[in-house]
Amino acid sequence: MTTGQPLLSVRGIKTFYGKIQALHGVDLDVYEGEIVTLIGANGAGKSTLMMTVCGTPQARNGSVSYCGEDITYKPTYEIMRTGIAQSPEGRRIFPRMTVLENLMMGGMVAGNEHFEEDLRRAFELFPRLKERQQQRGGTLSGGEQQMLAIARALMSRPRLLLLDEPSLGLAPIIVAQIFDAIRELNRSDGLTVFLVEQNAYHALKLAHRGYVMVNGTITMTGTGKELLSREEVKAAYLEGGAH
């Protein structure tokens, strides 16, 4: 699976917030059809990497390529029109728009012709959203907002879905539902997923491959199973066993 040209290729990325360096030369590849996860502690730079892929902020050094094309210095809105979609940290639902309007915003990139079909699929994946489609985004529960954030990202018909901490602050049963949905999207539609998680156990079980980030640097990489069995990973990220 990990042969040929990667769909997303990150090389030597260094990203700064003002004078503070958040990423110290990160290399990472995501191949078509894979679920790749990036785990690490709070503040390790996982979300920064995901945002750098989208060009906000842009990397100071290094390069991001997508489908073989260098997108490092493209404006964010152009990157997001090439088949990359992101469900960002904190979900960022538009609070004063309805669920339906949030989904329409997601579907704008894809154009009108598939809208009805895509909407139906989003509602199949997350039936709760259908019940709440006329409700304002700000009034949804955390789990519903997470579903909406993922559904909104899917409305753009992405080839590569970037998911930032979809499990954050959610009840275990909701987390399980969301991870099932991700697995299903990958299996049946061949959607490529790049998943950033603190919930290392679930993420590594789900993913084909994983990377571990510490202080803005990749320290380990391997298949999900390999990483799960590594002592360092267990000690640092899986204390208390599987949760």
Partner: protein, 311 residues
């Protein structure tokens, strides 16, 4: 009662003009959180563009009615387009380079842009009042003043009808755009979370530019209406009209589109009723006092969104 009716008609007319200008303030505030102090002067520029076009086309009261209406429609469209270019330019030159700068910076350039526009028009068009002969003099008499002729004659002039009808159509169209089109949704998305909007493929800079363009073109409609209604303009009209419209936007709840319309209407009504029943000299004091009172009890305005939202 008849006198009341007359003031009501006058107030609604004036309120329509304020409302059209107020939309520009409220939308720009909504999307970039900044008061565009040059907006009143954009209204003034729109008014001058309309005057120049009317004179250039040779439109007078003697023009046959059908032709007059067509010509004015043409003036309206061209003035909207040209004023929109001014609005776009002000944003591009004075505000965009400062995006991401500290909050007061664009406020200062806004005042600078306002002064620049006023002086440009003053220099290029002269400082004297510019009169326009009335194009529509007719009116409907709604009351005849009673049998003995002692009552008050209520007039509803054609120009008042034209102003209110045009405003209602434009506001309706505008509300539709904001609520139901991709552009309107993108504008609201940028208002609520600019970064997320860009993550969904929205060109944020372009959306902000279009907001200025839309606000400016509505202000130019107000400029044309003002010109037709009062028959005289000068390079300074943008200041007071701008302050009034800004007050209207704040009264209605800054950032809220229906709020701007409602606020404009209320300011227009307060002003005309105060002038009609109390004193003309204190009409501005009355309008601003009402604003102060409303803001004390409802800081977010009549239809505004509270700042805190459950997320």
């Amino acid at each position: 009662m008849d006198y009341f009716l007359q003031q009501l008609i006058n107030g609604v007319t004036l309120g329509s003009i304020y409302g059209l200008i107020a939309i520009g303030y409220t939308m720009v505030y909504g999307i970039i959180g900044m008061i565009n102090f040059a907006h009143g002067d954009i209204f003034m520029v729109g008014s001058f563009i309309a005057l120049v076009l009317i004179v250039a086309l040779g439109i007078t009261a003697a023009t046959p009615v059908l032709l007059l209406i067509l010509a004015l429609a043409l003036v309206l469209v061209v003035a909207m387009a040209l004023t929109a270019v001014w609005g776009w330019t002000v944003e591009r030159v004075a505000y965009r380079p400062l995006r991401g700068s500290f909050r007061l910076a664009p406020l200062i350039t806004a005042i600078g842009a306002s002064i620049a526009l006023q002086n440009f028009v003053q220099v290029s068009q002269g400082a004297k009042n510019k009169p326009l002969q009335p194009l529509f003099s007719g009116s409907f008499q709604l009351t005849d003043g009673g049998a003995d002729g002692s009552g008050f004659i209520v007039n509803l002039s054609y120009i008042q009808i034209l102003i209110v009808v045009t405003t209602v159509i434009l506001m309706g169209g505008f509300t539709y755009i904001i609520n139901n089109t991709n552009l309107g949704r993108s504008q609201r998305a940028c208002e609520q979370d600019r970064k997320m909007a860009s993550l969904l493929g929205v060109n944020v800079d372009r959306t902000i530019s279009l907001t200025f363009v839309m606000g400016a073109s509505l202000a130019s409609v107000a400029g044309l209406m003002f010109l037709l209604y009062y028959g005289v303009i000068d390079f300074y009209i943008g200041f007071l009209a701008g302050v009034k419209a800004f007050t209207a936007a704040v009264l209605g709840g800054i950032g809220s589109l229906p709020g701007a319309m409602l606020g404009g209407l209320l300011i227009g009504l307060i002003e005309t009723f105060w002038s009609g029943y109390f004193s003309v000299e204190y009409k501005d004091v009355a309008a601003f006092s009402i604003l102060a009172i409303v803001l004390i009890f409802m800081p977010e305005g009549l239809l505004g969104q509270p700042e805190v939202e459950k997320v």
